[in-house]
């Protein structure tokens, strides 16, 4: 490639590069070194302070649970719908993937509508049991909300993946006498493994970094994004907020990195 061509390409990338440098890279680098001003141990506060350890563990466990549940349910629904044709199927799929465009706060609101003090479940349980059951503000409400915004992505991914599934393998297995459960374990799972790993990674990363949903629910179960937000707005603790953000980013990146390694290990067989 000639120098002139190289210069031309550099010139094409320059506006984006300049914008990115000015409005993301340099500010974030400054953010990265901020905790150092208060002492190097500020970086490790997530490992040393009990409150932050709890917050990080909460977030991790919630994200893992949501990812696993979403993968199972999303795969079931996505594959089932892809293989059936009935009146209104397109409409149903469109409705099920609609929440992809919702901000997280709306989903928090939905859970409040379902499980809040004036919620649907509270009204029904009042009529049946005489007691108002509310779940929106605890762990269950948070879990259901996270499930709600994760399912559309999984359903869309698996519905698309179902199109590419090899029916001949399944027919062969069935003609050899395999039970349905056996087919799921020995034919579907290996076929869908790459999709599952990729989808699971996105779901996990989204859950780890989700803020709006937890914010609306104001749950007792504190997740790291909320902790970061509280540190910044209530205590003007920039350095601590920065440190927690770095920790959150690292943990998310590490999980994604491990799944990429695991995923590439699978496909190399």
């Amino acid at each position: 490639m000639s120098t002139r061509q190289r210069l031309l390409l550099a010139g094409c990338a320059a506006p984006a590069g300049a914008f990115f440098l000015a409005f993301w890279l340099l500010p974030v680098l400054r953010l990265l070194i901020l905790p150092a001003e208060k002492g190097w141990d500020t970086y490790f506060v997530v490992l040393t302070d009990g409150r932050y350890i709890e917050s990080m563990l909460n977030t991790l466990l919630l994200s893992v649970a949501v990812t696993l549940a979403t993968l199972v349910i999303g795969a079931t629904v996505g594959i089932y719908l892809a293989r059936r044709s009935f009146l209104g199927k397109q409409l149903l799929l469109a409705l099920l993937t609609l929440p992809l465009s919702f901000p997280g706060v709306i989903i928090g609101f939905f859970v409040i509508l379902l499980g809040g003090r004036q919620g649907l479940v509270a009204d029904l349980s009042d009529q049946i049991f005489g007691e108002r059951i509310t779940f929106a503000y605890g762990l269950l409400g948070l879990f259901l909300a996270y499930l709600y915004f994760s399912l559309p992505r999984a359903i869309a991914t698996y519905a698309a993946a179902a199109e590419a599934m090899d029916l001949q393998l399944e027919e062969a297995a069935r003609s050899l006498g395999a039970s349905r459960l056996r087919i799921v374990r020995d034919v579907w799972l290996p076929e869908l493994a790459p999709t599952t790993v990729a989808c699971g990674a996105i779901l996990f990363a989204t859950s780890m970094g989700a803020f709006g949903t937890a914010f609306t629910l104001a749950s007792k179960f504190e997740v790291v994004p909320i902790t970061i937000y509280n540190e910044f707005t209530n205590y003007a603790n920039f350095a601590l907020a920065a440190s927690l953000s770095i920790s959150l980013g690292l943990v998310t990146w590490l999980a994604l990195f491990l799944t990429r390694q695991f995923g590439s290990g699978q496909t190399m067989r």
């Binding site: 490639m1 190289r6 031309l8 390409l9 550099a10 094409c12 990338a13 506006p15 984006a16 914008f19 409005f23 993301w24 890279l25 500010p27 974030v28 400054r30 953010l31 901020l34 349910i73 079931t76 629904v77 089932y80 719908l81 293989r83 059936r84 044709s85 409705l95 099920l96 465009s101 919702f102 901000p103 706060v105 709306i106 609101f109 939905f110 859970v111 409040i112 509508l113 379902l114 004036q118 649907l120 709600y148 399912l151 029916l167 970094g209 803020f211 709006g212 914010f215 994004p225 970061i228 937000y229 910044f232 920039f238 907020a241 920065a242 953000s245 959150l248 980013g249 990146w253 994604l256």
Partner: protein, 266 residues
Amino acid sequence: MRQATHNRAPFLFAVTALTSLFMIAPMLLSVLAGLVNNYSVGIKSGFTLRWLQEVWEVYGGTVGWSLVIAAACVVATAAIGVPCAYALARSRSRAARAFEELLTLPVAVPGLATALALILAYGQIAAFRQSFAFILVGHIVFTLPFMVRTVASAFQRNDLIALEEAARTLGASFPQRFLGVLVPAVFPAIVAGGLMVFTLSVGEFNLTWMLHTPLTRTLPVGLADSYASMRIEIGSAYTLVFFIVILPVLWALQALAQLMQKRYGT
């Protein structure tokens, strides 16, 4: 693809039915809640449009601003992203690959962190900090990778490289080649990327909540505010406004993108 055997699968059907109910019921519930007189009384209290009117009076501005910011975001990411995508598609250097990875970082890093970084770096410049431009900058940084990735893969098509060579040997200058041959050829990808950017910008909350001021609110920010401080009917009516205004825009853009794909795509 041949349809699979239509044997009954009651368990799968049950899971699908339950999931569909779980996903759709809240949407219907919130639409209903925004239209009844009194939520705790329910449908018996009668239907009304007054909550919608009240929402429009208090939060109407946020709808317009969200759409304007999203549109500006599309224009900006196209303006700086398309040339950048071209450079990344044509360049084989390690620097280009590293830059491409860097560009996607704002998507991996939590939105809060990006917002914190921006506030730390530019928060002192009051005129910038208190304007919608501050929010727009955050949106551009977050959505740029989506535009660049989509258009870069379109630029890598082999027939495009041949087309560009042909134009060059015929004497076309670079601006002529870029605007006359390359951009029209990848136009469906630009539209697809633009749709992604628009959708992401309209629904963006993590960044915007940190960057906003009481005078610069977008629709998701307004929603959060109404859920926290207003009665449930207003929150529902505001959600209904989101459905009525934003969703048709998204569907129209999607239809446009599909039309482009059919007419001009490969």
